[in-house]
Every structure is written in C-alpha cells, then in structure tokens.
C-alpha cells in the first residue's frame, strides 16, 4: 500500500514534468518558429500600421460607416478577457426582449435594408467574440454603410463580396465575412470613418441615424 503510494507519487512527478512542462514548452518553441504570427494571436494592422486587433476576435463597431458584428455577451460586449454567450434559453423572456429591442434598433438604423433583420444580428454568438457575419447579413448592412460613407452601395457591395470566405473543402462551416477585416478593407478603400463614438462604446449600443457622419480623408 505504502509502496503503491510512493510509486503513485513518483508517477505524478514524472507525468507532470513530461506533459505539464516539457510538452507545452516544446510546442511553444516549435510554434514560435513555424507560425509566429498565428501563435501570437493573428494580429492585424490598419492602413496606418497600428495594431487594431486580432483577425479572429470580434470588436465592437458603433459607427454607421462600419459593418457591425453580431451582438456580444462577452463581458460588457466584445470583452476578449471574458468570452461568453448569453446562455439564455428558448423560453427566456430576457432573450425575447433583447431580440425585440435589437431588431427594432437595427430596423431603425437600416431603413433601406432589404428584407427582415438577419438572424445572426439579433443573436449573440457562443464566444461573444465571433468576428463573422454571413454574406447576407453583410449585404443587409450595405445600404447603411454606403450611405454613411457617401459612396455607391455597389462599390461597398463589391468590397463585401471580395471578403466572402466560402466553405472549407466545399462542405465545412458556413460562408462568412469577417467584419473586422471587411471594415479594414473599407477604410483602406474609402478612407477611415471617424465619427462619432458613442459614450457607452459597447456592444449593442444603438447606432444613431446621425452617426452617418464625417469621413476622415487619408
């Protein structure tokens, strides 16, 4: 019995060192050499070379000239240190109220948008950090973005289409557009949207109709 405990203790130490220390260090070492960009978080820079986020992580957009990602339940919204879904169930009154409010706001912000509000714009993602929109949801926002930027919707739409990622191998996942990358592309093409930042700065913060404001020329 005692000898078994001694073996168990030694086995703990052996496996701990092997799998808890050597293995992650080895992976880190090799990964830093082979895939330094990815290993560090796939950071992206804007047209001025400033690191503005990770290509994989959603960030809040409140300006009318930017495509808005899905609502986020991470922290107070898009908090990359507090990933989370809403965890509201299908008979949740809270969820129902939230969706109704979101849909109302979106309809008000996008008066020219075609058809009903896309489903993902009223549903919080699992992580709260989902950077993607479906191509339909992006297209739905095109009239608003084009209006805010004062450009031809067709040109905005072209940027959207250029940023659509298809299914991997034709079957895996869903076609999608990365909102952050799309907005970066817009800024590169049409100049940076500067105004206005709402005081809340957070997720589902209402984007006023007046937000279709000034564009800063590069």
């Amino acid at each position: 019995m005692v000898s078994t405990l001694v073996i168990a203790l030694r086995a703990c130490v052996v496996t701990l060192v092997l799998t808890g220390v050597l293995y992650p260090l080895a992976v880190t070492g090799v990964a830093q050499v082979l895939f330094p960009h990815e290993a560090q978080g796939s950071l992206v820079v804007d047209e001025r070379g400033r690191e503005v986020g990770s290509a994989l992580i959603a960030q809040g957009f409140t300006r009318g000239a930017y495509f808005q990602p899905r609502p986020s339940a991470a922290g107070n919204g898009y908090d990359a240190t507090a990933s989370s879904g809403s965890n509201l169930g299908p008979t949740s009154q809270k969820l129902r109220d939230r969706a109704v409010a979101d849909a109302e706001r979106l309809r008000k912000e996008n008066p020219d948008a075609p058809g009903p509000v896309p489903a993902e714009l009223v549903t919080a993602s699992g992580s709260g950090l989902d950077p993607h929109l479906s191509p339909e949801a992006a297209r739905w926002q095109v009239p608003r973005v084009a209006h805010a930027r004062g450009v031809d919707p067709a040109r905005v739409l072209a940027v959207v289409e250029a940023n659509v990622e298809g299914r991997t191998l034709g079957v895996l996942g869903e076609p999608r557009v990365n909102a952050l990358l799309l907005n970066l592309a817009l800024d590169r093409q049409f100049g940076r949207a500067v105004e206005p930042v709402h005081p809340t700065g957070a997720a589902a913060a209402p984007v006023g109709a007046s937000s279709a404001a000034g564009l800063e020329q590069p």
Binding site: A8, L88, D130, V171, V197
Partner: protein, 572 residues
Amino acid sequence: MTLIGWLQILLFFALVLALTKPLGGYLFRVFEGEHQPLPRVLGPVERVLLRLCGADARQEQTWTQYTVAMLAFSLLSMLGTYAIQRLQHVLPLNPQGLPAVGPELAFNTAASFTANTNWQSYAGESTMSYLSQMMGLAWHNFVSAAVGAGVALALARGFTRRPGPAGQKTLGNFWVDLIRATLYVLLPICFVYALFLVSQGVLQNFAPYRELLTMEGVKQTLAMGPVASQEAIKMLGTNGGGFFNANSAHPFENPTPLTNLAEMLSIFALPAALTYTYGKMAGDTRQGWALFAAMSILFFAGVAAAYAAESQANPALVASGAAQDGNLEGKELRFGVCGSALFATVTTDASCGAVNAMHDSFTALGGLVPLVNMQLGEVIFGGVGAGLYGILIMVVLAVFIAGLMVGRTPEYLGKKIEAKEMKLAMLYVLIFPLVILGLSAVAAVIPQGLSSLNNAGPHGLSEILYAFTSGTANNGSAFAGLNANTPFWNISLGLAMLAGRFLMMVPALAIAGSMVGKKVVAAGPGTFPTNGTLFTGLLVSVVLIVGALTFFPALSLGPIVEHFLGAAGKAF
C-alpha cells in the same frame, strides 16, 4: 437542414471510420502487442520513465492491485492540482497576477480534471494562471485520459484473456498502461496536432494579455496563453476543459471550420479506435465493430435530432421579426447550425464536454440531445476508455437478457455472466440515477441551488439536470448560464464527478477481475453471436431503455415541457 450540412456530417463520420482501424491497430500494438511500435525511439524512454516511477513493468496486477494503483495515482494527482491552484499566486507564469483559486473552486476543479470531466466553474482567462493551466489542468488532460484507457484495457483483458494454465487472474499493469498511453499515444499525436492548431490561428505563447485600441479606438484586451498545446489534449483526451470560458466556441481555441473538424475528429478518434483494439484483443475484430456499429447508430440518431431541432426557429426570437435561419443564439457563424449541432452531439456522445456553441441557448429539443447523450452513460464512443468500459457494462446487460431469451446461461466471449457480474453491473448502472436525480432533486428545491440559475421555468430545471448529468457522466459541458461557482454547486458537482468516475470504475474493474479467471465456454450454434447486427440492435435498445426509462420523468419536466411551452409561445 441542408444537403451540405449532411455532407459535412457524413464526411466527419467517414473520417472517423477511416481512422478507427489504423489507430485501433496501433493501440493494440502499443498495449497488447509483442512488438512495441516506435521501439527504437521511445522504447528506452518508456523504460527510463517506468524506472523513474519505481514500477516493475513485468509485474502483472490483479484487479485489486490495479484498482489500488489507479486510485492512489488519481488521488495524489488530484491533490497536486488542488495545491497548484491554491498556490498559483506565488508560482511563476502568472503574468496577469491572478490570485489564488478559492478552496471550493479549487476542489471542484481538481475533482473535475482528475475525473476527466473538465467541468469548469471558472472562466479560464480570468481565473487560472498559465502555470495552473499547463501543469494543473493540461497534465490531468493527459493522465486522466490515460487512466481511463487503462481501466478500459483492464476490463477488455478481463473479458478477452483466456485463463492460463496457472489460472492467471491478472489484468495488466496500471503503471505500464499509464506510461504507454501517455508516451506512445497522447504525446506524439498532440504534438503534431497542436502545431496544426497553431497554424490555423490557435494561440501558443506565454505573453501577458495584449492590450490595444480597436479600429474605433476602444481599448481591447486580448487574452493570451499556451492554448494550442492544451487544446490538442483537451480534445484527444476527451477532457473538454477550455483554456477560455467560451471553450471551443472561442476563436482562439477553434478558429476555422477545419480546426472544428479536427477537434471533433480528435474527440472520437481514440474512443472509436479502442473498439477496434478491443476486437483485436478478443481475437475477432467483428466483436469490436459490433460495438462501433451500436455507437454509430446512436450517434446518427443524436446528430439527426440535434440538427433537425437546431434548424428550427428559436421561439424566443420569433417575436423580434428577424429572419429565422435556424437557431443561431449562442452559435458561432463560422460553424453554423450544422457544425454546432454536430459538435454538440459529438462532444456529449464522447465524454468530452468541449463546446463550440452554448448548449444553454439550444432549442429545447436541441438541448435535449446532449442531455440524453450523456444520460445514456457516455457510451456513444464515450470518453477515452470510459466509452469502452461503459459500453461493455451495457453489453453485460444485453448479453444477460439475450442469453435468457435463447435459453442459455448468458455468456460473453465464452465467459459466463453470473450473479456476481450482474450485481456489479447494476451497481454501475445505479450510480447515474442516484447521483444525477438525487442531487438534481435537492438542487431544485433549495435556495443554494436555485439562486444560481440563469433561466427560469422548465429551462432552469434543465440547467440543474444538465449540470449534474454532465458532472456525473464526466462530460463537463454545461448549460453554462448556471453560475456553478458557489460553495453548494462546487462541492456537490465535485462529489458528483468523483462518484461518476471512481464509483463506476471500481465495479468495472471488479467485473474485470471476476471475468478474467473464468473458464471459456466454447461457442456453438446455441450461443448467440455478439458480433452481428442483431446483437448491435439489442445493445442499442438496452442502452436506450436503461437511459430513457431512468431519466424520462425528469426530462419531461425539463426540455420536453419546455418544447411544448415554447411552441405555444410561453416565456419565463
């Protein structure tokens, strides 16, 4: 449901099928073969490691010795993880300066990872230092999977070993199984797999959390850490404890549809392969394929139900007037409804518990599928090892019923199933209703239980039921709205997880011990075959009947009632 969705499901399953034989054959050679694979490279390492452990590799163990070794190792490793969490504030690799983990949470987490559950009452990125994640948690991801595999192998040996001339009653050596599973199987696969994950965008660094300004100039902090190395074993070891709170829904854990496929594959890979290994051990691979087939039938039933349910509109969203393209609440767009429903089925079929979508926000019936999957005993491929020993217990029950029905004393692989095995099998079966229903019933009426609920109405009961089911089934997924980080939940769930692990492993090992010495009865036309479709069908029915009959009343007050209420437009 779409055709492409189904193609994705079929592609996934085809890959599982394709992996089963080669990987299962490899496992057989690792654990049972005369000639170890990779002997030149890793053979000496194995010997050195065993010598460092002080274990005599040639010494085979009886079931009691095996059990004692397994329990001793599990106990000490659990204490180790408890200590690491409690001391993380004074240990290195804590760039965020996170404080020590509280005692109840540390107990819950230590129990959780020791039991291969990886239930998380905490949010990884805001609670655990890099050192706690790597050494406290990822370590367990390896060894708890290895322990599970060991127990399954021991039970498989109990059934398949032919008693030697000396009345051999041993089941192998726990330490050898532990080291071999880690060294030959988990580590090499994980190393390659982790690098693949990094290539797709999964983090692997020791940097402090990254602060930057977003495009709109808002401060955003990106959590960092050695994620990929942990992610790989989290899936392969069917552990499921995410580095981050959102688990595999987090883009840093599961960035692309390709990683999603790989993660699902790695959940099923070892449990599926073990069925083939078992067939090889039984000297008849069809024995293994019969188990595989039963698991596959249940898998497809689950995924079809989940996919169908999640393709429906979420009743809570109907009022918004938004388009209803399946239920997207709590789902990541890159995976979509199909990728999420499939992942949810896979992760709860196997006792993984990683999630790429929030099960709490699934439709009532969509959430019922993961719940039922777990309540069936984690035998649909199941956890590494746990799936095999779980299904073998079900086999004992199926064989018993079938044996009686053909008028013969029941036997399996030529060994008679007698009162003693039935007693142990029933002990095993009883743990689930006892712990799950018992604790759920308590939590459903006391304020300490109810105050943690995130949803009201039937969904609240589902949250309770899901928590104890997940804990006892050693799954670890959650209806995550439940705030489990309270003393009541941390302690009750911690105990549930330990019960669901060890109170079930011990009867399984005892059955192994009782079977191994049994005389082998020659098979004849009067023995019904356990390697054909008929037996597969029977096994499926037994699994369904045992699970469904046990939990149907409770489920009917949770997801089932919720389904009808939701359809009628009720909300809570």
